[in-house]
Symmetry: C2
Subunit: 221 residues, 2 copies
Amino acid sequence: MRKASRLGKRNSLSRDQIIEAAISILDESGKGGLTFQALATRLATGAGAIYWHVENKDDLLISACDVVIQRTLHSVVERPTPEETIRAVGLALFDCIDTHPWMGTVLAQTPGKMPMVRILELIGQQVRVIGVVEEWAAVSALLSYILGVAGQNAANAQFARKHGLDRSRFLGEVADVWACLDATAFPFVSSISCKLAEHDDRADFLAGIDLLIRAMLPVKR
Amino acid sequence: MRKASRLGKRNSLSRDQIIEAAISILDESGKGGLTFQALATRLATGAGAIYWHVENKDDLLISACDVVIQRTLHSVVERPTPEETIRAVGLALFDCIDTHPWMGTVLAQTPGKMPMVRILELIGQQVRVIGVVEEWAAVSALLSYILGVAGQNAANAQFARKHGLDRSRFLGEVADVWACLDATAFPFVSSISCKLAEHDDRADFLAGIDLLIRAMLPVKR
DNA sequence: ACATATATGGAATGACATTCCAACTATGGA
DNA sequence: TCCATAGTTGGAATGTCATTCCATATATGT
């Protein structure tokens, strides 16, 4: 990757094209499916040409993630209260990562980069509107929680894909393993193993957001 | 990897030896430093021999992580109240991952496996003692939060190592980038960029735990 | 038209994880 | 005691990638 394009581009490659193609491949085949070879094939070019527009694979992944994050966050409309807006942002992100699991992995591994900054900004603004005293503690807790859930979901999806299972079959397998644990050493885990398969990730996620929001609101209720 | 050892082992390899060697390498050189070649060299054997005792690299990473997690959690002594025990578990994990950043990556990528199950169990037990109504919501929020912070710290450390920076220099660089953002589009992030370098990850982590604990306690206070 | 900066595409290169395989070595019967 | 067998080893293939190289194109402005 050198500098910006200058040449007229009859039939040429552009950074945006490359990123869009990368997003398609990632959505279709997961993070493991994105190789420079696959990308070059889809774009009918060679791997070398791609490196003219993109620094390396991390650059590509972060940019792809950023494009989708921008679209996602842009689609969230402001709600009457900052609490509700935070919930809406959280849900939008949850659904986004549910649709594009590779994003969870990328987000969880690229600290301080743009995609995460956008999330931080949006949440930070809302927390600031609420006027929480321990502002940074609240914002960073929300962010870590969201990224944690994102990472978990991404890992689940990646594992499930690798072993050719769908989500519920995957959870079923986990539940089976948990159920076989020694109930003396693992009383809690074995007691919840049966509920694992039927739980609702999305509802759990929202419950966590609500816990955090409740704790950061002024001491009433 | 086939079955358990049976042969007398004068000068032989054992799974435990391999895992300990892997932990050393991971601690010294990070996740990127653990290759079967490096491991074979350190153990004065060949890569093939290692595969007799270990299924694949994931197996090795998970086992290494599990060994350290067991030691860590084992070292946490029960406190007078479940809340304090949860804090102690959290801090022990935080410090553990601070010392062994590779564990953050592994934990964040191996859903439902033993290392995470141990954490889940310990937290679940304490939350159960508290008697929270929305038990699962509370436990899963705590777990996701802890794994989220773990993942962030791991990513920071990994990035810093790759670029040969120490933690504070790394945060400094991030702060510089944030400070250059358009303050109109990113009012929150640019306003906190100056505080980034001097903040205390560990205190922030604990503050998040406290937020979650406070929110799950009965409605008093 | 020429010199130059931009771009391309495909062929190296170098790291790895993983698999293979040709020895080696206990162990438990004959 | 000695062999057949199953457990182990070490190192050499294999195959897949990211990344780099390089020999060609193709605009641009002079």
